[in-house]
């Protein structure tokens, strides 16, 4: 596991990797500007290290709710047209995308 204290500010290759994960194509200018800004912000985050929270449990849900479920009762489908017409591109009953190759 990498240690955040040793992490490099987001250099161009770092920002490119993150942008790749997020599927956002950045221009060279954006890489520079956003990289610098994010490094700044991450620098500010360093203060979290000094917070007295080591022994605390992580809090991912603020309300003490549990076992929120619904009964297994199917609705009748409303038809595909109202959804397909939202698509930027469609072909018949499908949402259309460029060809995806996954065969060998």
């Amino acid at each position: 596991m990498k240690d955040a204290s040793k992490n490099q500010p987001l250099d161009p290759s770092g920002i490119e990797h993150v942008a790749g994960l997020a599927r956002i194509r950045l221009t060279r200018e954006e890489k520079e500007k956003l990289g610098a800004q994010l490094s700044d912000i991450l620098g500010y985050m360093e203060k979290l290290k000094s917070a007295p929270a080591d022994d605390l449990e992580q809090l991912s849900h603020i309300l003490p709710l549990k076992n929120v479920t619904r009964p297994d009762e199917p609705s009748s489908p409303a038809g595909s047209e109202q959804y397909l017409r939202l698509a930027p591109e469609r072909e018949g009953g499908f949402f259309k995308v460029p060809p995806v190759i996954e065969e060998t």
């Binding site: 790749g20 994960l21 599927r23 991912s60 849900h61 309300l63 709710l65 549990k66 076992n67 929120v68 479920t69 619904r70 009964p71 297994d72 009762e73 199917p74 609705s75 009748s76 489908p77 409303a78 038809g79 595909s80 959804y83 397909l84 939202l86 072909e91 018949g92 009953g93 499908f94 949402f95 259309k96 995308v97 460029p98 060809p99 995806v100 190759i101 996954e102 065969e103 060998t104």
Partner: protein, 477 residues
């Protein structure tokens, strides 16, 4: 001993038998026009939120109990983030470090002692949509009917040592899950899917070798074949001084080989984190006991009971309990039958061969269980011979009539009238004095010939046991 040891782990996804999806109330049914089983939630429309289907949790627990898993008192859904067009939200809701259940095992029954396959975990997750490729037209289409269908992912430990082990494990697993009515486990309908991790290591070594992940196997046999191919491919590679590359390979059923996936794989970084839209599941003892109490008899217990109560052997009991519908078929038939061994033979040999020929599941057998019991009764009471019974059985399959009706219609009733048979025996002895003398002078072999002639004279309808008796009486007198 071979120089390499095979190490296989399997990841199985089964579709849980719910009526609606995991996080929305869209119906779960097979087929349907593309995108006809969708709603704002399973299409990932902005603003929509998931709400967990209670039944899917209960089915998950049922499965976990049947798989001897430890059920987590606290489980949580995480988001697995990656982009793919069949993903409505570009993240999959799954379970990560807090799965529904873990640390289980499955026993593969073997006469010499069962093989225990460890399970790392069994967790709930949602299915993705489906990509359909229109190669000629140069595009792909996405169908979200399956998006959000509840799945249980069952991951073994690397405990399987051969493709045959893997095949047996899959059969046992499917039987378990069908018995507890968690899933239909129908590979053709996609309700049972299997991926495999395969590696080799030098025999005696503890260190695992580099593994490949094998996908695209569409039947249990395909899994076995793909693994056999992959094992020999890796072995040859290592023997020739090469190295196995960690990669995903797809099985091609036509050539029975595996090939590396062409699309380039990036290093996965799924950025799992707890899904803030879904609150934790806390399974208390009361809830688990409720589910446990409703659990039917498991296959291993059933096989034991079959051996005990029906006095069947290990093998027969194993076959009959290898599928819940088959076991039920046998038990229904056994209710009207006194000869369980013969009944078991008729079901496991004749009926199953017949079903296999026409690729028919036992549930749609053309012969109802009561008819098989009736057939066994007819044989036992000497109404028909075993030989005639085979032809009767074939007619039962084709004409779907009870055996008694077939026997009556075609006059197949066995001749058990002694005086009538004595006449035939006299005739046969008169025509074949040689063999008759042979038998009289102690040549047992000649008896068979004489019985055969009597059978022929009566067009197979004579009761062979009786014919036997009469000839003996007549010639040894």
């Amino acid at each position: 001993m071979s120089e390499f040891e095979t190490v296989i782990g399997l990841e199985v996804h089964v579709q849980l038998k719910t009526r609606s999806k995991l996080f929305c109330d869209c119906p779960v049914d097979w087929g349907g026009e593309p995108n006809s089983r969708v709603c704002p939630v399973c299409l990932g429309l902005p603003g929509t939120l998931p709400v967990l289907n209670r039944k899917s949790v209960e089915l998950g627990v049922r499965a976990a109990l049947a798989l001897n898993c430890r059920i987590a008192p606290f489980s949580q859904f995480h988001r697995k983030n990656y982009f793919y067009p069949d993903m409505a939200k570009n993240y999959q809701v799954s379970q990560y470090d807090l799965p529904l259940s873990a640390d289980g095992f499955v026993e593969i029954p073997r006469e010499e002692g069962s093989l225990r396959v460890g399970l790392a975990r069994a967790h709930l997750e949602e299915d993705t949509g489906k990509l359909v490729h229109f190669a000629a037209e140069g595009f792909s289409g996405v169908d979200f009917n399956r998006s959000g269908v509840p799945l249980l992912e069952i991951v073994t430990r690397p405990d399987l040592r051969s493709p045959e082990d893997a095949y047996d494990y899959l059969k046992v697993l499917r039987n378990l899950l069908r018995t507890v009515e968690v899933s239909d486990c129908d590979m053709e309908k996609g309700s049972f899917r299997c991926d495999a991790n395969v590696s080799l290591r030098l025999s005696g070594s503890e260190k695992l070798g580099v593994k490949t992940e094998v996908k695209n196997m569409n039947s249990f046999r395909a899994v076995e074949r793909a693994l056999s191919y992959e094992v020999s491919r890796q072995a040859e590679l290592i023997r020739s001084g090469g190295a196995v590359v960690q990669e995903t390979r797809l099985y091609d059923a036509a050539s029975q080989k595996t090939f590396p996936m062409r699309s380039k794989e990036e290093a996965h970084d799924y950025r799992y984190f707890p899904d803030p839209d879904l609150v934790p599941t806390e399974l208390d003892r009361v809830w688990i006991e409720e589910i446990s109490a409703a659990l039917p008899e498991l296959p291993s217990a059933k096989a034991g009971r079959f051996q005990r109560d029906y006095e069947l052997g290990f093998y027969d009991a194993g076959v009959l309990t290898s599928d819940p519908a088959l076991a039920e078929y046998f038990e229904t038939a056994a209710r009207a039958c006194a000869n369980f061994k013969t009944l078991s033979n008729w079901i496991t040999v004749e009926l199953m061969a017949r079903l296999k020929e026409s690729d028919t599941p036992i549930e749609s057998s053309p012969v109802p269980p009561e008819h098989v019991s009736e057939l066994v009764g007819l044989i036992d009471r000497g109404v028909i011979s075993g030989k005639i019974a085979k032809s009767v059985f074939a007619l039962m399959c084709d004409e779907r009539k009870p055996p008694s009706e077939i026997v009556r219609e075609r006059g197949l009733v066995q001749i058990s009238d002694e005086s009538e048979l004595e006449k035939v025996v006299e005739k046969v002895i008169g025509e074949h004095p040689g063999p008759a003398e042979d038998f009289a002078s102690g040549k047992e072999k000649a008896l068979g010939f004489l019985v055969g002639r009597v059978m022929k004279e009566t067009r197979g309808q004579a009761n062979p046991r009786l014919v036997n008796e009469i000839i003996r009486r007549r010639l040894s007198g």
